[in-house]
């Protein structure tokens, strides 16, 4: 293990804390001794080659994947087999997926109000007000009554972001939010994410959008073969990567 990974920076009041987390898919060791702390309001961008375990790691943070060893604490709640804890964590953590995963049988507005009404038990009217507010925020106020299939990819992803925000989460996870988008739609999604970052949302993003990472991230995390290889503020990370594998990855991704 590299030196850079051995001494994680001390973050006061970490809202996400992973301690010595391991995970296997059958015999395959996908996550190896992951230690990560994310402070309140901090933005962490995770990058690395495909199959390096980045998605698996952030999916462990809201228990879409189960870790087999180590401790994960989110917003002061430990993730273990206790279903109550899992539900509590999921209420505090929003997630945006690569494939948007909007509910195709519901209108945009219904997508946004479903969880607030059923999980937060908000009255319908209040949930709809919140939904319209966030649709405004992601700049698609006039699409509320359309179905997801009638929107462009970029619009769908912005609806997905709004859907998560309607639950008023403390933390937002982004799992390659722009990877399934046509190039001209990437910016509209990144703009929304940047705005969110400036407002102080705690964010963990798996992304290859290095421009976004540079402007937004407080901390870059580089993963390879299930390990965190390097972590550094973006300035150091891009200008002076320590590890050979980081350098190789960055030269590939920044070359074009």
């Amino acid at each position: 293990m590299s030196d850079a990974a051995a001494s994680p920076p001390i973050v006061p009041a970490a809202v996400i804390e992973l301690q010595a987390v391991h995970k296997w898919y059958g015999e395959f060791h996908v996550l190896r001794d992951i230690n990560l702390q994310v402070g309140k309001g901090e933005k962490v961008v995770v990058c690395g080659p495909s199959g390096s375990g980045k998605s698996t790691m952030i999916r462990c943070i809201n228990r879409l994947e189960e870790h087999q060893q180590g401790r994960i604490t989110v917003a002061g709640i430990e993730l273990n087999a206790d279903l109550k804890n899992i539900d509590a964590v999921r209420r505090e953590v929003g997630m945006v997926f690569q494939q948007f995963n909007l509910f195709p049988h519901l209108t945009v507005l219904q997508n946004l109000t479903l969880a607030p009404i059923w999980v937060r038990k908000l009255p319908k009217k209040e949930a709809e007000e919140t939904a319209r507010y966030y649709l405004e925020r992601v700049r698609i106020p006039d699409q509320a009554d359309k179905y997801p299939g009638q929107l462009s990819g970029g619009q769908q992803q912005r609806v997905a972001i709004a859907r998560s925000l309607c639950m008023k989460p403390e933390i937002m996870l982004f799992d390659e939010p722009t990877s399934a988008l046509d190039p001209e739609m990437i910016k509209e999604v990144l703009d929304v994410m940047t705005e969110l970052a400036h407002e102080g949302m705690t964010m963990v993003c798996v992304t290859h959008e290095m421009g976004f990472a540079r402007t937004v991230a407080d901390m870059m995390v580089f993963m390879d073969r299930g390990e965190i290889i390097e972590r550094a503020p973006p300035k150091d990370f891009f200008s002076n990567p320590q590890n050979e594998r980081t350098r190789a990855f960055l030269s590939q991704i920044l070359a074009h």
Binding site: N62, L64, D87, M95, F97, P104, H105, L114, V119, G149
Partner: protein, 366 residues
């Protein structure tokens, strides 16, 4: 330098005129090419050969009224037989002076079914209507209260019996099927094993066997003097049977739900029940409407098998009507009549499924 195809923007133009008119339609659809022309001519010939005799038999030469069967044997159909036996074929052994009761029952069923077509009624109101409707059906058939004379279930026969068996079978079999399908995909091994075992067992046995078992074997296991109504036993067998078949159809829909839908629901904090009810089932069921309706139609027609435990459904009352010594030999008329009734209900189900498909397709339309 790049070629410039147009130096000015192309203005929007009207689409080319469609080839319309009867001649255009005929040429485009029936006579476009040698093969299609031959096929068209063959079909016309077939219709010319087959249809006139049917019309002659069914309408032109048909006898519409006759005092008895002997004077009703001409070249054509004897619809007088149907006229004579109408009440018996449709309502069976139900006391003749109470015919308004089973007739209202059929009316209530038709009303409930028509109401189910109205988009505006969907939801709680329709459910309420169906609960009230089914209670009314039961009250009207059974009687014994509100000044209605009591009629034993053994007397329930004909179309009302067929409708009760089919509709109640579907109504309870469907939720059972959904539960079995969900159970078969459960993470709990015991639940999964029970559901798989149940589905495979029931699906692997002919319905006739199940009806026999319900009718003959079940009483052997019950304490002496304790009996369950025969109709109830047949109905339960039907529900169990429908459940097993519907379960596999529903499972097909469940398997087609992308994993991302479940993850999105989970990440929003929905519970298993909320996720299943609000996200998974609406999409899964919408996807399997054609095979679901296929199964429903099958169940509807399978009700004709209850004759093996001597319940007189619509088909059996028709066959019984044929055994009248005064009216013998009108098989075709009886089967055509019953066939038309079966067909109208099945055709309705098929149309209803198309309505549902259109309704649930909105999300995919651009």
């Amino acid at each position: 330098m790049a070629d410039i195809a147009h130096d000015m923007p192309v203005a929007a133009q009207a689409p080319p005129p469609r080839s319309s008119g009867l001649a255009g339609w005929l040429r485009a659809n029936l006579f476009n090419g040698v093969t299609n022309t031959i096929l068209t001519l063959l079909c016309v010939a077939l219709i010319a050969v087959a249809v006139p005799p049917v019309i002659r038999w069914g309408l032109v030469d048909a006898i519409w009224s006759a005092p008895n069967g002997k004077s009703c044997h001409g070249g054509g159909a004897c619809w007088a037989f149907i006229g004579e036996k109408f009440r018996f074929i449709v309502f069976g052994f139900f006391p003749a002076n109470e015919t308004w009761r089973p007739a209202s029952v059929v009316g209530i069923f038709v009303l409930m079914i028509v109401a189910a077509c109205d988009r505006r009624l969907w939801g709680r109101r329709l459910a309420m209507l169906w609960v009230v409707g089914l209670c009314a059906v039961f009250a009207l058939m059974r009687g014994g209260a509100l000044g209605l004379s009591k009629v034993e279930t053994a007397m329930w026969s004909g179309l009302p019996l067929t409708l009760i068996l089919a509709v109640v079978g579907m109504l309870f079999g469907f939720p059972l099927g959904i539960l079995l399908a969900l159970g078969r995909r459960s993470r709990l091994p015991a639940v999964r094993a029970i559901c798989v075992g149940y589905i495979e067992l029931v699906r692997g046995v002919p319905l006739i066997t199940m009806l026999f078992m319900a009718s003959l074997m079940l009483p052997l296991f019950l304490p002496a003097g304790f009996t369950i109504d025969k109709l109830v036993r047949a109905q339960v067998a039907f529900i169990l049977f429908a459940g097993a078949y519907l379960a596999e159809v529903v499972r097909g829909g469940l398997q087609a739900i992308p994993r991302g839908q479940i993850e999105a629901a989970d990440s929003l904090g929905l519970s298993y029940i909320q996720r299943t009810r609000l996200i998974v089932l609406p999409q899964a069921l919408a996807m399997v409407i054609p095979p679901l309706v296929n199964t429903f139609i099958g169940i509807f027609k399978d009700t004709a098998l209850v004759i093996v435990i001597s319940l007189f459904d619509l088909l059996t009352t028709a066959e019984t009507a044929l055994s009248d010594v005064n009216w013998q030999g009108f098989y075709i008329e009886a089967y055509v009549f019953v066939g038309v009734i079966y067909w109208s209900f099945c055709f309705f189900m098929s149309r209803y499924s198309q309505l549902l498909e259109r309704e649930f397709d909105r999300g995919k339309r651009r």
